[in-house]
Symmetry: C2
Subunit: 202 residues, 2 copies
C-alpha cells in the first residue's frame, strides 16, 4: 500500500501523454478494454479521474492512441518497404515479416492491445478495420511475391499469408520483455527462416 502510494505521489506530477498511455494500455491488456472503467485507470495511474480527463476525453481516446502506436509503426514499415525501388518481391515479404516481429516485440503492449480488441464499440471497430487494412497490405505483398513466381505454387497465397502472420502474432502470447532468452532480432530471424525455408535440414 505504502509503496503504491509513494509511487503514485511521485508520478502525479510527471505524467506525459505517453506515460499515461503506457499505464492505460497495461490496464486494458490486464482487464480487457471492455472491462476497464475510468475509475480503474485513475486507480492504476494513482491520480484522480478528473486529472485523467485533463489529458484525454475518455478511455476511447486512450484505446485509439494505443492501437495507433502499433498501427503507425506497422504502416511506416510497409511504406518503407513499398518504396524500395529494386527489392525483389520475395525480399520485400521477408523484410515485412522480419520487421513485423521486431515491431511486435518493441511495441509489445500496443500490439497486444491491437490484437485483442473485440468489436463492441465504434472505437474498437475502427481499430479492427485499421488492423484489417494492415493484414490486407501484408497479404498483398505475399500475393505479389506469388505472382512474381517467388513462392512455391502448392500453397494458396491467401492461406499462407494468414498462417505466416498468425505465427508472427502468436509471439504476443508468450514473449515477455526483460532479460529474455531471445532478443527481438532472435525471434524475428527465427520466424523469417522458419517461414521461408522451413524446419527440415537440407
Amino acid at each position: 500500500m505504502n509503496t503504491s502510494r509513494t509511487s503514485a505521489a511521485s508520478r502525479r506530477i510527471t505524467y506525459t501523454p505517453d506515460s499515461l498511455l503506457e499505464v492505460a494500455v497495461a490496464v486494458f491488456n490486464e482487464r480487457g478494454y471492455d472491462g476497464t472503467s475510468m475509475e480503474d485507470l485513475a486507480r492504476a495511474a494513482g491520480i484522480t479521474k478528473s486529472s485523467i480527463y485533463h489529458h484525454v476525453k475518455g478511455k476511447e481516446e486512450l484505446l485509439t492512441r494505443g492501437v495507433n502506436r502499433a498501427l503507425d509503426a506497422l504502416n511506416a514499415s510497409l511504406d518503407t518497404l513499398e518504396a524500395l525501388p529494386d527489392a525483389g518481391e520475395l525480399d520485400r515479404v521477408e523484410q515485412a515479416v522480419f520487421r513485423a516481429v521486431q515491431i511486435l516485440v518493441d511495441e509489445l503492449p500496443y500490439v497486444t492491445l491491437l490484437l485483442r480488441v473485440r468489436g463492441n464499440t465504434e472505437t474498437e471497430r475502427a481499430a479492427q478495420a485499421r488492423r484489417r487494412e494492415i493484414d490486407q497490405r501484408l497479404a498483398g505483398f505475399v500475393e505479389r511475391a506469388a505472382a512474381a513466381g517467388a513462392l512455391r505454387t502448392d500453397l494458396d497465397p491467401r492461406l499462407a499469408s494468414r498462417l505466416v502472420f498468425g505465427m508472427v502474432n502468436s509471439v504476443v502470447e508468450w514473449y515477455r520483455p526483460g532479460p529474455a532468452r531471445w532478443s527481438a532480432d532472435d525471434v524475428a530471424s527465427a520466424v523469417t527462416h522458419l517461414v521461408f525455408d522451413g524446419l527440415r535440414r537440407r
Copy 2:
C-alpha cells in the same frame, strides 16, 4: 423471439451431456468464461438453472469437460504417434503438427476455449496446466527430431516449437466451420508444408 422460444421448447427435453456442453462452450467463447454466469447458460440453453444443475455441478464442470474434450483428443494423437515403432523423429513431428491442426478444426469450439482460458480460478489453472503438458510433449517431439539431426541447426528447437504451435493455434482466430474456402486437411497440409519446407520456391 418466437423462433428462439420454439427452439428452446423443442430442445428442452433433448439435452444430452454433449449437447448441453456444446451450448455452454459457445457461450464461454462468446462472453468469456469469467463473464458467464449460470443464468447466462440457462438462458442460452432455454432451460432453467435447476435443470442445468440436474446435469452438472456448476460451470466449473462444464469448463473442465469442454477443455478435456480438446486435451483428450490432442493427447490421444500424441499417444498414437509415440507408439509408432519405426516412424522417424521428423515424421513424428510432421504428423503431430498435421494432426494438431485437424483436431483444432474438428474440435474448434473446444480448442478455442482451451486456448482462451485465463488463470483466475483453480479450474482454469488446472486447464492451463494440462495445456502446458501438451505443449511440453509437442516440444519434446521437436527436440527429439533436433537431437536426431533431422532439423536445421540454426534454429533453437524450443523457439521453433513455440513458433510452430503458435502458427497452429492461430488458426482458431480466423477459421470458421461451414462451407469454408479451406477444409481441415487443406489447412493441416498448408501448415505442415510451410513449417517443414518453407514458402520459398526451390
